[in-house]
Symmetry: C2
Subunit: 275 residues, 2 copies
């Protein structure tokens, strides 16, 4: 037989991958978790049927949620990742020598366990001595934290289930308080082709809290439409004023100083979502 | 019933669209041609089962195959489009006031007929007095043309069937001859995620003929992986040396002077295909 896994990316568009074998399925307290091996993208992690990460293209998402923010801050020492239990963002954060501590706050310990078991190349940073793993509600953690982080990465799922609160104005307000005086955050903010309203709303909500808000883009083939957006919200440092010439040489497959510059060059219809 | 149209984008990845109604199907002398109405992307044109254009996202492809090339040339007056029977590239070429004549060379008149009938917003430029439509083999047309075009757009299907020759070194050599002394060409060159070998080969073949070869990218949700590449090959003018500040104000939804700059900022794994 031919086995395919299909993600309905919207109610009327679906992306399918030919499956080599199904490796794991469970219902966690928060979501359905599946791991399948595909021909094209290697192992795939799905949460509630939605592709979260694949071995073959995860480098794009993880490099691009991490490096633009960490290089916009002149000296990030304390970093938090909210969500991101697969560990990919942590792995990228650890490439920055300035970082003394990265705190992963993942609500679902089963995601961490699956990443450790099936995705060692992604979760490799979780056992680093500079990493602290907390299994708890990221919203509560941020609410109870004051002036602690230089950078916070919101590495969330789509805004359904436990992740809804990660896209709320009150969460952005507590993020502002959780940051140091010149801190900044970055959030994954979905596809401009399919989620224009969410991007517009998120941008507006962040601008009500932070003086500097900038959207940027990356190509992610296994995410809906392949065009993915991230939003940086910052107290002081502006990614558009940073000199990529001063960036350290990072070991990456997608990110470069030129990509940093290019990612903020928005197509007209995307730019219109941010004004 | 639910009706879906599915394109196998590779042997192991497929993209599906929910269908409102099927509008047209025929076998032309060159290919299978289908038109369907989808919920998300409006009308869709498929050739041999592969999505060629959709009402909802065609603006990206047509703006991005046209404007970078036409703005790299300081004064394009004679332009040819090889393939592109839907007329979308012609529509964009006509936005440039310097253009005196655009010649569309499409081998399959049924594509032109389907575009006129089902995609009036895309094919609108075909009846412009500055447009000449030739139903003939683009490879022969270019071989028989000398020093005539400032810019040639290779708006081909994937390199199968009639389009194979459009990706060959001998075609690139006749293109060089068909151009004016400071002419340039642009070709659609598939997805870096799925067609790395083709991009590497095309780049090498073009560099054997043209002194300047530059790859750039655009987000096209209905094309495989969503990351699409185009390659400019030029005798004199270098897109990286052009000042986007001098660009005329074009009515576009994707292209802007900033997008022009950003599109040439290649992810590391893509840049490596061009060296």
């Amino acid at each position: 037989m031919q086995l395919w896994v299909t993600e309905p990316q919207t109610s009327d568009v679906a992306l399918s991958f030919k499956v080599v074998s199904t490796l794991h399925s469970e219902q966690t307290p928060y979501q359905r978790l599946d791991v399948v091996e595909t021909e094209r993208f290697g192992k795939l992690l799905l949460l509630d049927g939605m592709v979260q990460t694949t071995e073959r293209d995860e480098f794009v998402y993880h490099e691009m949620i991490t490096h633009p923010a960490l290089l916009t801050h002149p000296c990030p020492r304390r970093v938090a990742v909210i969500g991101g239990g697969d560990g990919g963002a942590v792995r990228e954060v650890l490439k920055h020598d300035t970082v003394e501590r990265v705190t992963l706050v993942e609500i679902d310990e089963k995601v961490i366990a699956a990443a450790r078991r099936f995705f060692p190349s992604i979760s490799s940073g979780l056992d680093n001595p500079r990493t602290t793993v907390l299994v708890e509600d990221g919203i509560r953690h941020i609410r109870e934290t004051k002036g602690a982080y230089d950078v916070v990465l919101i590495d969330s799922t789509e805004p359904v289930g436990a992740a809804v609160g990660l896209f709320s104005q009150s969460f952005y307000e507590s993020l502002y308080e959780a940051l140091t005086d010149d801190g900044l955050i970055v959030a994954q903010t979905e596809s401009p082709f399919y989620n224009a309203d969410l991007i517009r709303d998120t941008n507006r909500a962040l601008r009500a809290v932070f003086p500097l808000v900038r959207l940027y883009l990356a190509f992610i083939p296994t995410y809906p439409s392949g065009m993915w957006s991230f939003t940086i919200a910052s107290k002081v440092h502006d990614p558009l004023q940073v000199d990529p010439g001063r960036f350290p040489d990072l070991s990456t497959r997608y990110f470069t100083p030129a990509v940093f510059r290019g990612a903020f060059c928005l197509p007209r219809f995307v730019e219109e979502l941010t004004v």
